[in-house]
C-alpha cells in the first residue's frame, strides 16, 4: 500500500524495453480487449476507491460468470497440449498447458456429468467448530405454508432424462483485471462461486489453480477497486519480465507486438495458471 502510494505514475512508455505499461497504455489495451472480446467490460468499481490516474468509468476490467467445469487435478495431463512459453527458464517459465486444445463446452459438460456420479459435490465447509456457532438451518425450513410451484423446473438433483432436464452443477468465476501501479502491469483477480452459488473459500479456489502456481503465484489481497474481504490475485511481479521475453521472441521472428495487444497476450499466458477456468479470448495469437 505504502509502496503503491509512493510510486509515481508511469508516464513514459517503456513497453518495448521492459514490458511494463503506463495507465494510458492499459486503457488502450483494455479498449482493444473489450472490442474484440465481448465478454469483457470496463467497470468503475466502488466510488470510494477511484484511482485518479484512470478514467472514472474505466477503472478496471471485468468478466463475470465464467464456467469452471472441473478441478485442476481432474484435468487429464497431456504433454501434447503443452507448450513451454519460456524454454530457457523451466523453473519460473510459464507453461501453457492448453496451447493446442480446442475447448468444447459440451464435451466438457459430458465429462463433468460422469464425474458428478463418482464424486458428489462436497458439503459446504464448516470450518468454524465453535459450538455456539453451529446453527441448525433445518430449524428454518418451512413446510406446508408455501404454495408448491408446479411450473418451476426442478434443478436440484434432477436425473438425466427425466422431463428432459440436465442441470449440472458448475463453479463460476468472476475475473477482474486491474492496473497495478507499483508493478506497472495488469493484474488478474479471481473470485469464485461454488456449485450452490456461495463464495468459494481460498482452499476451494486453490483447486482451480495449477499446482505449479497455486502457492507461489496466487496471493490473497485487498482489491484496489472493490469493498469486501481479500481476494485471490495472480501476483504481478513476473508479468513485465514474461511480457518482455515474449516481445523478444516475437522480435526474433521478425514480428512486432503492439501495446494494445497486451491484455490479449496477458490472458493467454495466465491461462497456464487457471487452466480449467474457461474465459473467452479471441485472437489465435501464435508465438
Amino acid at each position: 500500500k505504502v509502496a503503491e502510494f509512493l510510486t509515481p505514475v508511469l508516464k513514459e512508455s517503456k513497453f518495448q524495453e521492459t514490458g511494463v505499461i503506463t495507465p494510458e497504455e492499459f486503457i488502450a489495451a483494455g479498449d482493444h480487449l473489450v472490442h474484440h472480446c465481448p465478454s469483457w467490460q470496463w467497470a468503475s468499481g466502488s466510488s470510494d476507491c477511484v484511482r485518479e490516474y484512470l478514467p472514472p468509468d474505466k477503472q478496471f476490467l471485468i468478466t463475470r460468470n465464467v464456467p469452471c467445469y472441473k478441478r485442476c487435478r481432474q484435468m487429464e495431463y497431456s504433454g501434447e497440449l503443452e507448450k513451454v512459453l519460456d524454454s530457457e527458464d523451466p523453473e519460473g517459465g510459464w507453461v501453457d498447458t492448453h496451447h493446442f486444445q480446442e475447448t468444447d463446452p459440451t464435451s466438457l459438460a459430458n465429462i463433468v456429468k460422469d464425474m458428478v456420479l463418482e464424486e458428489p459435490v462436497g458439503e459446504p465447509e464448516q470450518s468454524d467448530s465453535e459450538a455456539e456457532e453451529a446453527v441448525d438451518m433445518e430449524d428454518f425450513v418451512e413446510s406446508g405454508m408455501l404454495e408448491e410451484d408446479t411450473a418451476a423446473v426442478e434443478t436440484v438433483q434432477e436425473e438425466q432424462g427425466v422431463s428432459g432436464g440436465e442441470i449440472l452443477s458448475t463453479r463460476t468465476y468472476d475475473l477482474n483485471i486491474t492496473y497495478d501501479k507499483f508493478y506497472q502491469t495488469p493484474r488478474l483477480w479471481l473470485f469464485g462461486y461454488s456449485e450452490s452459488r456461495t463464495a468459494l473459500s481460498v482452499d476451494q479456489m486453490y483447486e482451480d489453480f495449477s499446482a505449479d502456481h497455486a502457492n507461489k503465484t496466487i496471493t490473497m489481497e485487498t482489491h484496489p477497486h472493490l469493498p469486501g474481504p481479500p481476494q485471490a490475485s495472480v501476483h504481478p511481479c513476473k508479468h513485465a519480465s514474461t511480457m518482455k521475453k515474449l516481445l523478444d521472441q516475437i522480435a526474433e521472428g521478425g514480428g512486432e507486438l503492439g501495446v494494445h495487444q497486451y491484455l490479449i497476450i496477458f490472458l493467454k499466458f495466465v491461462q497456464a495458471i487457471i487452466p480449467t477456468i474457461e474465459y473467452d479470448f479471441t485472437q489465435n495469437f501464435s508465438l
Binding site: H36, C37, P38, S39, Q41, G45, S46, R64, N65, P67, Y69, P105, T106, A109, V112, P124, S127, D128, E133, V135, M137, F140, V141, E142, M145, L146, E147, E148, D149, A151, A152, V153, T155, V156, Q157, S163, G164, G165, E166, I167, L168, S169, T170, T172, D174, F191, Y193, S196, R197, T198, A199, S201, L226, P227, G228, P229, P230, D280, T282, Q283
Partner: protein, 315 residues
Amino acid sequence: MEALKFVPFSSSIHPGFWTELTKVKLEVAGLNEEPVDIIGTFTNSDPPGGALQPRLSVEWNAFDKEIETNWNNFSVKGTVTVKNTIEAFKSEDKAGFIQKEAAKIWNKISDGSWVDNPEELNSFSVLMFADLKKFMFYYWFSFPALNIPSSVVVANCQEGKDVLSNNQLESLTRALRGGDNSVYSLLMLEEKSVKIVPLSQLGAVDLSTTLVCVADPASMAKHPGWTLRNLVVALCHQFPSLVPGLRFLCLRASVKDGQVLAGHSLVITLGGEVPLLDTIPGVVGWEKNDKGQMGPKLANMRSSMDPVKLAEGSV
C-alpha cells in the same frame, strides 16, 4: 402441447455485498426494519446445455442508485428487508411477505402501467438477518411469480436459428452489443435484418413478423428462465386475444472466440386458451435452499470478514 415450465433463479452474492450491507445496517438503517432498495443483475450469456443454473447476483454495488450494465448483463430492482433478531427473521409470515411483493406486480399489471415499464414485472425481495458480531448472514431470496393459467401452454418450441436467418441473427447480435439492454422488447423481422422496438408497440406491430423478445437467464434446452413468467401473466391479462400463437424469443447470447452467438435462443409459441384473468393469481417464488427445501441460506463470512480471524491468518 406442453405445460409452460420455467427454470428458477438461484441467488448469488459477492462478498462485497456483505461489507456494504453491514455499513448500511450500522450507519443508515439502524433498527429500522423497512425494506431497502437494492439492484441485482443477471446474465443471458451462460454456455448452452444447462450446466449453469440461472443466477440473480447481488454485488458490492447493490445499494447504488444505478448500476453499470452491459449488453449481456441486465439489472433487476429488488429490496432487502433486514430483521433485527433471528426470531423475527424466523417468525416472519413468509407467505404474506411474498404475497405483498407479488401484489405490487399485479397492481402494475391490472392498471396497465407495466406496458411502458415492463422491467417492473421482474423483481426480487430478500428477507435477512445479519448477525454482525459473528459475521453470519441468514438470507432468503424470493422471486415473486404469478401463476399462469394452466390452459395456456407451449404450442411449439424451436431454436432461434430455425426461425431467424443467418443475416437476421447477425443483425440481432450487432444490435445487442450497441443496444439499450432492456429485458423486454419486440423483435421485428425484416428481410435481411432485425429491428428492436419497445414492448409498448405490441398492439401496433404485425405479429406474423414480430417476436416478443425476453432476455433469458436460463441455458437449458426447452425451458425458459424466470423473466418470461410474469410477462405471460401480464399479456394474458392485457392482450388475451393476442396470446394464442404469440411467439417469444427467449434471448440467449453466449460468447465464443470473441463472437456473440444467439442461434441457441428459444423461440416459444404459446397456444391453448386464455381465461379471464381479473384477480391476482397464486403466487410462488421463494428460493429453495441447497438441499431443495423451502428454507433460507446462511453465509458464514467469519473467516474472511472478522478482523480477529484475518489477523490470525496474516501471521
